[in-house]
């Protein structure tokens, strides 16, 4: 049965909103490493304590497209001279982000990368629920980046995906430090889905989750928002947690996979 996982800390890095987002990133990493790695590091540094208390034992990354800019740079190299940079290739692998976080923060337990499009946050939260008790606390990092090419593609994506508009491609890295045993007063989260649905309105998502007979799902949730970018569900969760105005339900819908999911946030008593 799904359990609520307690949110001990959270931190959101949004380059568009915070020009100083990279201050926490070590100089060597700024010089050498992929931008999406740096975003993930900056978010994680906001929840992993310097003094080693509450050290994560596992890391789960949720990302729709991974290090897309590194993929583009690698392909540019291949198409230009037949060669690609090994550095770009290494970074382009989806799980390089979680690997980098494990390396930097010395997290030796399970290391998973979940790629479920706009539903990656919900799906990553479910993956955390699957870990053994000894693997907590878990560092959960939801991250996707924005490329100029994606902005160029946006009108055509929108036209193709009839019922769904991506308002704009948003990039962010959102980190949560979560434990498996909520204390009284903790904010806690659990997720349902992803399930296939051709529509993204709350009623359709609820109906599909109910039809899927998801244990614990009542079909009576009130939606606070639905996603318009890969990372928005996680950003919305942070906003809810900051304001302390739960309970809340955050819906997400992926036009490319035609699937929806929800994350429920509540306050434990």
């Amino acid at each position: 049965m799904k359990r609520y996982l307690a949110v001990k800390k959270h931190h959101c890095v949004s380059p568009a909103r915070d020009p100083s987002w990279s201050d926490a990133v070590p100089p060597a990493m700024k010089r050498r490493d992929a931008r999406i790695w740096r975003m993930a590091y900056a978010a994680a540094a906001g929840v992993v304590a310097d003094d080693g208390t509450c050290q994560p034992r596992a890391v789960i990354a949720g990302t729709a497209l991974g290090a897309l800019e590194e993929t583009r740079l690698f392909l540019d190299g291949v198409f230009t001279d037949g060669l690609g940079s090994p550095r770009n290739f290494i970074a382009s692998v989806h799980n390089s982000i979680a690997g980098k976080l494990a390396l930097e923060f010395k997290i030796g337990g399970p290391n998973l990368t979940i790629c479920d499009s706009h539903n990656s946050f919900a799906s990553a939260l479910i993956a955390a629920d699957l870990l053994n008790d000894v693997d907590f606390p878990v560092l959960l990092c939801i991250v996707d980046e924005r490329l100029p090419l994606l902005d160029d593609l946006q009108p055509y994506f929108t036209r193709r995906c009839r019922s769904f508009c991506i308002d704009q491609w948003e990039e962010a890295a959102v980190a949560f430090l979560i434990t498996n045993a909520p204390s009284a007063g903790d904010a806690a989260m659990r997720a349902f889905g992803p399930v296939l649905t051709e529509r993204h309105d709350p009623e359709s998502i609820c109906r599909k989750l109910t039809e899927a007979n998801v244990p614990g799902f009542t079909g009576e949730f009130h939606f606070n928002g639905s996603s318009t970018s890969f990372v928005q569900p996680a950003i919305t969760a942070v906003n809810v947690l900051k304001q302390g105005n739960g309970p809340a339900v955050i819906g997400s819908f992926s036009p490319t996979s035609g699937a929806a999911a929800i994350v429920e946030i509540m306050q434990t008593t």
Binding site: K2, F74, L75, V78, L83, H94, N95, G99, G108
Partner: protein, 393 residues
């Protein structure tokens, strides 16, 4: 809880079907040949294990990208064991590294030549996201949910482990687990840029080993909860008994020299299976053929197992099929348990004194518990334990 394996499926360089692949492994066949990408005739890799069975109906008439077409072949075989699914909650847990990137590669190349190609790039790259694979398979089997794992070469062992726990925790009654990756320019050129491709073909654990040989494949497993196994017409094939996962925290591409992370994953899998190391009868190693991987894997195994059980690598026959490799080789490990054999490690000929261990020759042997390892970029480690149904508690 024992989670049962109700069905398996495979497509690989050896051909279509679990039996075909198994026969090839027993015989020590070698399918490596110089790889030419149809869209990139000038780009050649030294040697790769390419799937040559007919995918034209799937990639042509149905318009599936190659990774999905491979997955569909394996899924069709595995789902033969699942004729009556009314009322069962079955989800898809998919593992892929490249997904539909071959479509993106072609479209992006055209876009670079002509920026008017932008609208087509949007359409063709719509399958770039790994989630598309799982969603399409979920749609095909009328599943009630899906999850996508992408942890490079360890992906599909994690997918098996996650599916096991999704069933144990009551999320679903059954899970179709799939690992699939097609060859593409990104991986062929990428591993080439790392100088990790053995020009004469991979030689796992051999003294002169010099790298991997890439391959493409899909493997599928249908997992079922004990309380629903009677709904399946055929006897269960085996049990998924334990899953272990860990991170090296050492280097982004090189494994820890003493195999510390690998050891932790293996020990976690043993702990979940409640088995002592001495209970393991055989090991299907990751065994890629790179000097570092094979050395670290044997170091880890020697630490866990005072008496090293017989082990093998399937990489020369199947190629290193990346995200598919874990589940593909696990599918064949199920056959090893059922038929009682260990295949030869094709490509191996001389013991490396530095690692001091030789894979088992091909032979008949009784196997009750088999360990399967897979390790990936980012210091990512996975291990599962597969057991005979006779061991079910």
């Amino acid at each position: 809880m024992s989670v049962f394996i109700a069905g398996t499926g495979a497509v690989c360089a050896a051909g279509n079907g679990v039996d075909t692949g198994c026969d090839a492994l027993r015989s020590g066949c070698d399918y490596l040949k110089t790889y030419f990408h149809p869209d990139w005739p000038t780009v050649a890799a030294p040697l790769c294990a390419t799937v040559e069975c007919d995918l034209d109906v799937l990639t042509g008439r149905e318009g599936l990208f190659r990774t999905l077409a491979l997955a569909r072949v394996a899924v069709d075989e595995a789902m033969q064991a699942f004729p009556a699914r009314e009322g069962l909650r079955c989800a898809v847990v998919a593992a892929t590294t490249v997904g539909g990137i071959s479509q993106t590669e072609r479209a992006y190349k055209n876009f670079r030549l002509d920026h008017n190609y932008l609208p087509s790039l949007a359409v063709e790259s719509a399958v770039h996201e790994p989630a598309v694979l799982a969603a399409e398979l979920c749609r095909k089997i009328k599943g009630c949910g899906f999850h996508t794992v992408s942890t490079a070469c360890s992906s599909s062992l994690h997918a098996i482990g996650m599916a096991k726990r999704l069933i144990e925790k009551g999320y679903y009654d059954a899970c179709l687990v799939i690992g699939a990756d097609a060859l593409c320019i990104t991986t062929v050129r990428g591993f080439g840029s790392l100088t990790l491709l053995d020009p004469v073909g991979c030689r796992p654990f051999d003294r002169d080993r010099a790298g991997i040989s890439l391959g493409e494949a899909a493997g599928a497993m249908l997992l079922a909860a004990p309380q629903v196994k009677k709904r399946f017409p055929e006897p269960m094939l085996a049990i998924v008994n334990g899953w272990g996962a860990s991170s090296d925290c050492y280097h982004m591409t090189a494994p820890h020299p003493q195999g510390n992370g690998a050891r932790a994953a293996i020990e976690a899998a043993l702990a979940e299976a409640a088995l002592a190391p001495g209970a393991i009868d055989g090991i299907v190693a990751h065994g890629t053929g790179t000097p570092d991987n094979d050395r670290a894997e044997i170091a880890a195994l020697k630490t866990v197992f005072p008496h090293l059980p017989p082990f093998c690598s399937m990489k020369r026959t199947l190629g290193h099929t990346l995200a598919a490799s874990g589940i593909l080789e696990a599918v064949f490990a199920v056959q090893m348990i059922r038929e009682g054999f260990i295949p030869p490690t094709t490509g191996f000929s001389a013991v490396d004194e530095q690692i001091g261990a030789a894979p088992s020759p091909g032979r008949a042997v009784t196997l009750r518990h088999v360990l399967k390892n897979a390790f990936g970029f980012g210091g990512n480690n996975a291990a599962i334990i597969l057991s005979s149904t006779e061991t079910a508690s």
